[in-house]
């Protein structure tokens, strides 16, 4: 995740001959790779506002396809956002206290739990979804409810929330902060709500953005769990590509990007705030 490969560090020790050249080469390479990654996405979004993709941009620009996507998939968009918020709420309620518990009770058991938490990341979403269907598929109306997808998303995103909060709590030496609050007379709840949570805010915020972004973009698990009535944006996108005009699918990509890019930017920005050296502590 961290550390763009190139040039941020090089200028400081650019002393030898030829290093200016290697800097330029590095920059060019970076830009080339970035272009390689971004260009298809740009072209795809451009296609979404092109009147006729096969005739190219000369056919003119239009918002017709975007309108069609919004009309066809407004339910999906609402469901996706609702699901993301529900996932966020659940991971907050479960993840923040759980992270605090792990930090507060360090030991072999805590480390084992932390390892276990990474399982949903390592195991393919499809496998998790299959397991969920096997175990809970027959329970009441769960299979057809959006709650089923919520459970999947929580399983998948909870580790990200917990990791962010655990790292934050460890960095601020939360255990000593808690002892300080206790010494002044604060009971366990007030310590948690008035001292631990406010000081874990950067971690909670970073975790929250991560969870929302992952939930909005999750495909593997959701594709397996969805029903025709419980479709999220990425599943709808696959649908659109498979069954509709290319322009509609491309407009869909555009809508998707508009929703997710602000989230990604916010994550990067927050990551910068929390980085060592960004804001010195003690």
């Amino acid at each position: 995740m961290r550390g763009a490969p190139l040039p941020s560090k090089t200028p400081a020790r650019r002393t030898g001959y030829g290093s200016r050249l290697s800097f330029a080469a590095g920059l060019a390479l970076t830009l080339a790779i970035a272009g390689f990654l971004i260009l298809p996405a740009i072209l795809s979004m451009l296609a979404g506002v092109t009147a006729n993709y096969f005739r190219g941009l000369s056919s003119g620009l239009t918002l017709r396809w975007v309108g069609e996507v919004l009309a066809l998939y407004s339910d999906t968009i609402v469901l996706t956002l609702g699901l993301a918020l529900a996932t966020l709420a659940t991971t907050l309620v479960l993840g923040v206290p759980a992270a605090w518990f792990l930090v507060r009770n360090p030991g072999r058991a805590s480390r084992a739990i932390e390892e276990l938490l990474t399982l949903p990341i390592a195991v393919p979403g499809l496998a998790i979804a299959l397991a969920m269907i096997l175990v809970w598929g027959g329970v009441g109306d769960l299979r057809t409810s959006w709650v089923f997808i919520l459970i999947g998303h929580v399983l998948f995103t909870l580790p990200f929330m917990m990791r962010a909060v655990v790292a934050n709590l460890q960095a601020i030496d939360a255990r000593t902060l808690e002892e300080g609050a206790a010494s002044l007379g604060a009971g366990p709840w007030r310590r948690f709500l008035e001292v631990i949570v406010p000081n874990a805010r950067p971690g909670i915020l970073a975790g929250s953005l991560m969870v929302v972004t992952l939930s909005v973009g999750e495909f593997n698990l959701t594709w397996m769990l969805h029903t025709p009535l419980t479709k999220t944006l990425p599943v709808g996108l696959a649908d659109a590509y498979a069954s509709m005009r290319l322009e509609v699918a491309s407009a869909y990509t555009l809508v998707f990007f508009v929703m997710i890019i602000p989230l990604l930017v916010a994550i990067q920005w927050l990551g910068g705030l929390g980085a060592p050296g960004g804001k010195a502590r003690r």
């Binding site: 002892e179 300080g180 609050a181 206790a182 002044l184 007030r190 406010p198 000081n199």
Partner: protein, 333 residues
């Protein structure tokens, strides 16, 4: 007003889950308003004792902690009305200085006006009255520890516990602060227990010093007692500097550097200068003598160079004698 309380530990011990004893069963009393310093090398059990007294940790079954006539053993720290100052400050970054100081008062449910007046009073005592609106990350280390002290005192605790409060600060700041803290605690006459591994700090702060090693108390006494009449070899060598004279029939003889005199070569114990450190008021001379390596404090402004021959005379009345024991040497701190 702070109401000083007597604090007592009865048969308090602490054993880690793996069976290691951090503290052997120990009795300890702190008189009302007294400044008691727990002193010892790291791992001696001093912090464990502090945490048991304050209520951060429980003693092993059988141990009791009393505040006055109150048995507080089963009460966690938040229900003991104590104050605590930590080495790492433990200030809340989400609150400004004034909010930190007033936090304990808020928990007590004091009305706002009284809270503010009291917080202001203790901030003035700790000389941070100008910093009230600052964020914690805008403070220096010394300022942070003053805030922590004001915060702990503002709740007017029955006892104050300080866990190596100056260890994270640099030397000159440490010196100023330890004198201020010592004076403030005496003035407020709050019962305080202060943990440190630094004997100079201990002497500056303490009414009485408790020297600990390997989970046990080695000696309790005033700084003068402990320095001049150490009860055993450990205390004598850990507390202050000593020179070891040759053992005689199973007895070890120690003498402080200030109880030795340099004399012309040929008199006293023959020695050779290894190094000298000019301290201003005196010179610390490291010697290699017939009786082994020695350090002497010389007040006579001699100009000595490494290799010079010299004699050493010991003030026999100040030699401290102990049965030779395979006592664990204190680690230098």
């Amino acid at each position: 007003m702070i109401d000083p309380t007597r604090i007592e530990a009865r048969a308090c011990a602490r054993t880690y889950p793996n069976g290691t004893r951090a503290l052997h069963p120990t009795d300890l009393g702190v008189e009302p308003g007294e400044r008691l310093v727990l002193l010892g090398p790291s791992g001696c059990g001093k912090t464990t004792m502090l945490r048991i007294l304050s209520g951060l940790d429980r003693p092993d079954p059988g141990g009791r902690v009393l505040f006055g006539d109150d048995d507080v053993t089963d009460r966690p720290i938040e229900r003991r009305n104590v104050g605590m100052v930590f080495q790492s400050y433990a200030l809340f970054p989400n609150m400004c200085v004034a909010q930190n100081v007033a936090y304990g008062l808020r928990l007590k449910g004091l009305p706002r006006a009284e809270r503010e007046a009291r917080a202001a009073h203790y901030m003035r005592l700790c000389r941070i009255e100008a910093l009230g609106a600052r964020r914690i990350d805008q403070l220096s280390g010394g300022q942070r520890q003053r805030v922590a002290l004001a915060r702990a005192l503002a709740a007017e605790p029955r006892a104050l516990f300080l866990d190596e409060p100056l260890t994270a600060l640099d030397a000159s700041l440490r010196e100023t602060l330890r004198e201020e803290i010592g004076a403030l605690l005496a003035e407020l006459s709050v019962t305080s227990v202060y943990v440190t591994h630094d004997q100079v700090e201990a002497m500056a702060i303490a009414d009485r010093i408790v020297v600990m090693s390997a989970g046990r108390i080695e000696q309790i006494g005033t700084p003068r007692d402990v320095y001049e009449r150490p009860q055993n070899l450990f205390v004598a060598t850990f507390f202050g500097e000593t020179n070891r004279l040759p053992d005689t029939d199973g007895r070890t003889h120690l003498v402080r550097p200030e109880h030795m005199r340099l004399v012309p070569p040929g008199e006293g114990i023959a020695a050779r200068v290894v190094a000298t450190t000019y301290l201003g008021a005196a010179t610390r001379v490291t010697l290699d003598s017939e009786a082994g390596p020695m350090r002497v404090l010389d007040h006579e402004a001699r100009r000595l160079a490494p290799g010079d021959a010299i004699g050493v005379r010991v003030d026999e009345s100040r030699v401290m004698t102990f049965p030779t024991q395979p006592a664990p040497e204190p680690r230098p701190s």
